[in-house]
């Protein structure tokens, strides 16, 4: 059924066993984002060392899509430079807005390709992007304070 394209096994796995859930004691930036249409909330801690993302931890309440998506992002974006993370973020954002026409490149997006089905359900795109937008916001804050490059940050 159509619903199965939304709720991939990988998503439900991440939802039931989320990665990096629980906020780290220290961080370079902390952000709090909400989805005003449904009340989902997320707090995200981002730590960067020498231009490389070393830790993303988070806590929050939300639907399976938002929770799985931030779980995937918190794993995928670690050990990346800002420009690498921005490229992944761009690819993911493009996939989410593809209205079901794209599958996503697993070499770039890894588990995040399992969220491709979300793009067929317009009301859920915000759910999938919640954690990623929180990451983007946290990254901007660190870049602003440390003078890191903003190149590629355009989604």
């Amino acid at each position: 059924m159509e619903l199965d394209s939304l709720y991939q096994e990988v998503i439900l796995d991440h939802y039931k066993h989320p990665l990096n859930k629980g906020l780290s004691a220290s961080y370079g930036a902390q952000v709090h984002h909400v989805n005003p249409s449904c009340g989902d909330e997320i707090t995200l801690n981002l730590t960067v060392d020498n231009g490389i993302i070393t830790s993303i931890t988070w806590d929050g309440v939300g639907c399976s899509i938002s929770q799985a998506s931030v779980s995937i992002a918190s794993d995928l974006l670690v050990n990346k430079s800002f420009s690498e993370a921005d490229a992944i973020l761009d690819a993911f954002t493009e996939l989410m807005h593809s209205k079901g026409t794209k599958q996503g490149n697993p070499d770039v997006l890894d588990d995040a390709v399992s969220l491709a089905g979300v793009s067929k359900f317009p009301a859920r795109i915000k759910c999938a992007l919640l954690g990623w937008m929180a990451f983007k916001d946290a990254a901007v804050r660190i870049k602003t304070t440390t003078g890191e490059s903003n190149d590629g940050n355009k989604c």
């Binding site: 619903l3 909330e41 309440v61 639907c63």
Partner: protein
Amino acid sequence: MAFNVANVRKDFPIFERTIRDGKKLIYLDSGATSQKPLSVINAESDFYKFHNAAVHRGAHQLAEEATDAYEGARLKVANFLGAREEQIVFTKGATESLNLIAYAMGNAEPGSRFALTSKDKIVVTEMEHHANLIPWQQLAARTGAELSWFEVTPDGRLDLSNINSVITEYTKVVALTHQSNVLGTIIPLEAIVARAHEVGAVVVLDACQSAPHMPIDVIALGVDFLVFSGHKALGPTGVGVLWSSVLDDLPPFLYGGSMIETVTMTTATWAPAPRKFEAGVPNMAQAVGLGAAIDYLTALGMSNVHNHEVGLTKYLIEKLSQVPDLKIVGPTNVDSRGGTVSFTVGDIHPHDLGQYVDSQGVAVRTGHHCAWPLTRKLGVPATTRASLYLYNDESDCDALFDAILGAQKYFS
């Protein structure tokens, strides 16, 4: 006229379509917006096809016909509420009606009964829709008045135990919902109106969730303002109603054409109510469509509509109570409650639950339902809401029940 839900459903073209690959449409989201009978769709369409012209202006036949149709709709709404025509203002929706009242009060001359200062109080409740909370928050911020509120008890009723300290001699306005759009609770209005009037405050009633579902008599309710939206009462979007018995004392909110008596380059005076509050060319076709909706409801009989919904709400609550891990948020009996039932189902997030039941053709609302302070107070991030109307029947409740069980299996 006997109420026959099978016949009622035939009047709504949308039930002829299917949903999600051929499934029957089970529409349980009338609290957000109602479906429309063919007579309403035709009335709006016929206005454009045959009578379209700007009302209250133009010396031609079409303008006369348009004005008759528009003012005829006003009379229908007045009769529906037990009110007089000149007490009915058409707005673009209930949200605008509420903002109109709040902004007009903000425009009141210092010292007049509606003028607020830092000494005054505005009273709301914790179960308000954002549309009946934020305009008052903002009016309080602009005038320095204090915003206070009645709290909600854990079983979803208004706590009036401190009514005399919430509504005090400094209270100028008490704005509250007649029926919660989340809990379904119908509030104990009589005691609140009595206390408000004792201290000289006006009562603003948000009847969005009540006027479409039960007989309303503004005189019996005793309130000073009542608003509801057309689109939740079988009417088109883009039209709302503001009723008030004190319009003459209230200054205008929006200025422009139609609402004036005389204009010079530096001054203007206002037309009498209701036109004082209807600046610009109004949403005519929508008002006429609402008139057709009122005709439809009146022909069915609002008592019949109400009785049908009370019976169905009882059935829905009994059915939902059989679902393991399902918790109804709000009253679990049908005493003073309408057909809006919010609930949580174990650990399944409402958004996921809503998505699953949608895959079975069942349309429900999920989230905080534009009443975020209330869901926070109740300790739930979000709920799933089923809201009934006159075209729903027991099979709709059964379909929801089956779909929830399916969701539990799917997400287990």
